[in-house]
Each structure stands twice: as structure tokens, then as C-alpha cells.
């Protein structure tokens, strides 16, 4: 019984593959339409992954509190205690005016002599804060930084909160738009695949009637078409991944100098393996669903 089922399954799978070949151009349209909707999904995964990575990276950036002039040691010490006692801050480094000038001098390199012209040290003292990596969301940091900015000792706060907030909002908006577009394109793909299967069923109408005549069950008749739909969806997924790879490499090649300039050593990631597999599974699912829709409509008639 088991070997009989395996033989039947293998036969039906070969039939489905043969149907894809025989469908020709209509199958190609189906594959391309699935690829378009899944390409969007690929871009979404890559955008989401890289923006999330950027978000994490931004939160690793240091926040700097620039202090008012002429603060006493006591005031500085009091502020330092407050900062060290804050859970969101894991490291506090005080940079005196003199130390700030020396660091600046060192960063200027050969042009350090320009600082010799200064009558006084214009640089303020500051606290350099390293944030807790567990604190990811801007809405967790914003209250803290707003509080610090209002402290009497603090002149200004330089940090990535606004940028992080914008990035986070961008992520949310981008996610919604991509999901909406993804759903629309998936429905379109489903309809195109259903139409392709419809054409295949029409083409094999005589053969199907003979299949029924010799005792093939309904599922035996349906399975090759479902396999055809799944295969078209799978090929669409592969095409989408291929196109994503092409876009990825083109983008990285064009944009890498800019990326290095802004982000330093930070790189853009391609799809992860599990995301690529999910794309293939979704493609097959859309294809299979399209076939089922087509077959159900024919049965209903």
C-alpha cells in the first residue's frame, strides 16, 4: 500500500512538472508575478533586518552631556552620581575641558597647530554615556534624556534619540506599506496562477474525463495541478531571491563608499537563510492556493 502510494505520488509529481513545461508562457507569467510579490517581501526582510541592525547600532552610540561653564567639582560629582545610578546608563566617563582639548588636538593630527592660536579653551567639559544594550526603544530613552537635558548642570545633550526615533517610525511605516503592497501583489499572483491552472485544466479536459472514467479519484486528478501551482510559486520564490541578490549587490557596489563614510565599518546584510526558506515556502503556498482556487471554482460550476 505504501509503495503504491509512493509510486502514485511520484507519477503525479512528474505530471505536475510536465504541466509546467507544457504551460509555457502562461507558466512564465505566473512565475514572474509570484516573483514580483515575493521580491517585495525579500526587500522587506532585508530592509527590516538592516534597519533593526542600524537601530541597535544607533543605540550603541554614545550620548554626550555637555556641561555648563564654571561648574564646581561638587556639582560635577553630584551629576556623576546621578548618571551612574541610572539603570539605562552602563558607563559614565567624565571628560574635563583640558582632556577634551587634548582629544580634539589628537584628532586634528597635522593641523593641531591651529589650536595654538586659541587664547582660551572653548571646549566644554562633558560626560560621555554608554547606554544599556537592553534598552532598544526610543520611547525608553527619550524620557531619560529629556530629564538630563533639564538638569541645571547640563548645557546640551548630543545623542541619537531623534535619529533613532525617526528610524523607528520609518521602520513601522515601512513595515505597514510593505505588508499592504505584499498582500495586494500576493492576491494578484494567486489570481494569475489560478488562471494558468485554469488554462491547463482546459487543455487537459479530455484527459481528465478519461482519468475519471478509469477510476482516478478527485484528489488524484487534482494533485498534478496543485503541484503545478506549487512549482510555479517555488520558481517565483527562487526568481525573487535571485533578483534580490542582484539588487543587493548593485546597491552595495554603488553605495558602499557612502555607507562607509556614514557608518564606518557597518555593512548591509542580505537575507538570512531562514528568511530565504520562508520566501520559498510562501511562494509554494501561494502557488498551491492559486491552484486550489481554480479547481474549486471549476468544481462549483
Amino acid at each position: 500500500m505504501f509503495t503504491t502510494r509512493v509510486r502514485q505520488f511520484a507519477y503525479l509529481l512528474r505530471q505536475g512538472i510536465g504541466d509546467v513545461r507544457a504551460a509555457g508562457i502562461s507558466a512564465s507569467f505566473a512565475v514572474v508575478s509570484v516573483a514580483c510579490s515575493l521580491l517585495l517581501l525579500c526587500l522587506y526582510f532585508m530592509a527590516l533586518g538592516n534597519l533593526s541592525k542600524a537601530l541597535d547600532s544607533a543605540l550603541d552610540l554614545k550620548v554626550i552631556l555637555y556641561l555648563r561653564e564654571n561648574l564646581s567639582q561638587e556639582q560635577i560629582g553630584r551629576l556623576q552620581k546621578v548618571l551612574e545610578g541610572t539603570a539605562e546608563i552602563v558607563n559614565v566617563r567624565f571628560i574635563s575641558q583640558a582632556a577634551a582639548l587634548e582629544e580634539f588636538r589628537a584628532s586634528l593630527g597635522k593641523e593641531a597647530y591651529l589650536l595654538d592660536a586659541l587664547d582660551s579653551n572653548p571646549l566644554p567639559a562633558s560626560f560621555e554615556l554608554s547606554l544599556n544594550p537592553k534598552v532598544k526603544e526610543p520611547n525608553q530613552l527619550k524620557p531619560l534624556l529629556e530629564y538630563l537635558a533639564k538638569r541645571p548642570e547640563v548645557e546640551s545633550v548630543q545623542g541619537g534619540v531623534e535619529w533613532v526615533e525617526r528610524l523607528s517610525n520609518l521602520l513601522v511605516a515601512g513595515r505597514l506599506i510593505l505588508i499592504l503592497l505584499g498582500v495586494i501583489l500576493t492576491i494578484i499572483s494567486l489570481v494569475i496562477i489560478a488562471t494558468t491552472i485554469h488554462l491547463t485544466v482546459d487543455r487537459r479536459r479530455d484527459e481528465i474525463s478519461i482519468m475519471r472514467l478509469v477510476g482516478a479519484s478527485e484528489w488524484y486528478i487534482r494533485l498534478p495541478f496543485i503541484f503545478e501551482g506549487m512549482l510555479e510559486g517555488l520558481l517565483g520564490g527562487l526568481l525573487a531571491i535571485g533578483l534580490s541578490a542582484g539588487l543587493y549587490y548593485a546597491f552595495c557596489w554603488k553605495m558602499s563608499p557612502l555607507i562607509k563614510l556614514i557608518f564606518g565599518a557597518w555593512s548591509i546584510d542580505f537575507l538570512r537563510l531562514e528568511e530565504a526558506l520562508l520566501i520559498l515556502v510562501l511562494g509554494s503556498a501561494v502557488g498551491g492556493a492559486g491552484a486550489l482556487v481554480s479547481l474549486s471554482c471549476r468544481s462549483a460550476k
Binding site: 509510486r7 484527459e207 482519468m211 482516478a216
Partner: protein, 232 residues
């Protein structure tokens, strides 16, 4: 409608039994009216009548291509009238059917057309090879296994259809005007094939309006006119 239990008790060995079968299409005049018949195993029976008499409808009821409007139909011990869709395919695997227009798949070779039945059943490659060759040998076409139907004559195509119908050793072979598209000599050849198949034990029920050949065969005849059996 009479229940099965109230009907005359008949031995269950009959291949086909029909009890007060009616078939109406869309509320029009009955295509079949009060059909009662019984076909024993190993019989060869001709179903004759003019066009529109109901011959094809009667055959279609037997392999459940159509469902009777009322009455009971028992085929090989199973009540066809009450069958679910999932059981119909089991029924059809035991019945071979041959049509006037052959109904071959033109994109498949002679071998593949006949093998199809066995592939549906999930038979092994070796068994398929053996049975298909045997069936084609029975109809005299074992040398044309790799030919496509379009390259065959009408008589040869019908013989392929017959091979497909008998490859799985059915208990019943139905034929709907199998010689309708053939000249007289070819028709006789095809008829002789059916007789050979019948001699080897398969029950044959054939619908035809070729009375000349029916008379030559000297087999049992059921006459239909306007949906009713007029001679049995």
C-alpha cells in the same frame, strides 16, 4: 419507489441488476422509464434501439456517469444508486468502457494510453509493462506500442481503447456504439475482439444500432424504444 427489500429476491451473482430504474433530465420526458434487467456473469448482451432510445443513458447509469432519478442499480454486488463520489472511482476500476469516439489521449503513445489505467492504480513499472503488453497482444497491436493514436486507423484506435478497457481485467465491459465510426469489415474485426474477450470470461454489454452485426452474433438482445425495454 420500492425499497430494495421488497423487490423480488434474485441470486446475488448477477453482474448488473436494475430494478424500476427511471432517469429524467431537467423535468422533461423520461430518458429511461421503469427499466428492469439482469445480466449474468459471462454473458454478452446487446442493447439495441434507435437513436434517442436511451441506450447510452442506460450504460452511463451503470458506471455512474449519470445518477438514476429513481430505482436501484446493483453492479457487481454494489448499489450504484447510493454510492458516494469516493466509491465511484472504486467501481470504475472494475468496469471497462469503450466509446464510439475511442477517447484516446493523443499526446500519449499506444502503450501510455493503455498503461494509464494501471498508473492510476499505482502498479509497479514491471507489472504495467507485463499487463499492457498482454492487453495489446490480445487486440493484435503489440507491435505498435510506441505509435501515437493519430497515426493509427479508426479500427486500430478502437482496439487500443479496448485494450485500455480490459488491461485491468474488469468484471464488466461496457461498449457504447464501438463500431459506429468504422466500416463494416473493421466493425466485424472489432466485434470478434469483443467475442474473444467475452469467451475469456468478461461480461460484455454493448449498445449498438448495427442490427446486422447483432443478428450475426446470435447473442442476447435487449431492445429499447423511447426509454423503455420493448424486447428482452
Amino acid at each position: 419507489m420500492q425499497s430494495l427489500s421488497s423487490l423480488p429476491q434474485a441470486p446475488l451473482s448477477a453482474i448488473v441488476q436494475m430494478f424500476h430504474v427511471y432517469k429524467t433530465f431537467d423535468g422533461q420526458k423520461a430518458a429511461l422509464a421503469d427499466i428492469n434487467l439482469r445480466i449474468e456473469p459471462g454473458e454478452m448482451v446487446f442493447l439495441v434501439g434507435p437513436s434517442g432510445a436511451g441506450k447510452t443513458t442506460l450504460l452511463r447509469l451503470i458506471f455512474r456517469e449519470e445518477k438514476a432519478s429513481s430505482g436501484q442499480i446493483i453492479v457487481n454486488g454494489k448499489n450504484v444508486s447510493k454510492m458516494k463520489d469516493s466509491q465511484i472511482c472504486q467501481l470504475r476500476r472494475k468496469i471497462g468502457v469503450v466509446f464510439q469516439d475511442f477517447k484516446l489521449i493523443h499526446s500519449k503513445t499506444v502503450f501510455e494510453n493503455v498503461a494509464y489505467v494501471l498508473q492510476v492504480l499505482g502498479k509497479s513499472k514491471s507489472e504495467i509493462g507485463r499487463k499492457v503488453w498482454s492487453a495489446l497482444r490480445r487486440v493484435g497491436l503489440e507491435h505498435k506500442m510506441d505509435v501515437y493514436p493519430k497515426r493509427l486507423s479508426g479500427g486500430e484506435q478502437q482496439r487500443v481503447a479496448i485494450a485500455r478497457a480490459v488491461v485491468n481485467d474488469p468484471v464488466l465491459l461496457l461498449a457504447d456504439e464501438p463500431t459506429g465510426n468504422l466500416d463494416l469489415d473493421t466493425a466485424r474485426e472489432v466485434m470478434n475482439l469483443f467475442i474473444d474477450i467475452n469467451i475469456q470470461g468478461t461480461t460484455v454489454l454493448m449498445a449498438t444500432h448495427n442490427l446486422r452485426i447483432v443478428e450475426e452474433m446470435g447473442k442476447r438482445v435487449i431492445s429499447l424504444r423511447e426509454g423503455k425495454i420493448v424486447h428482452h
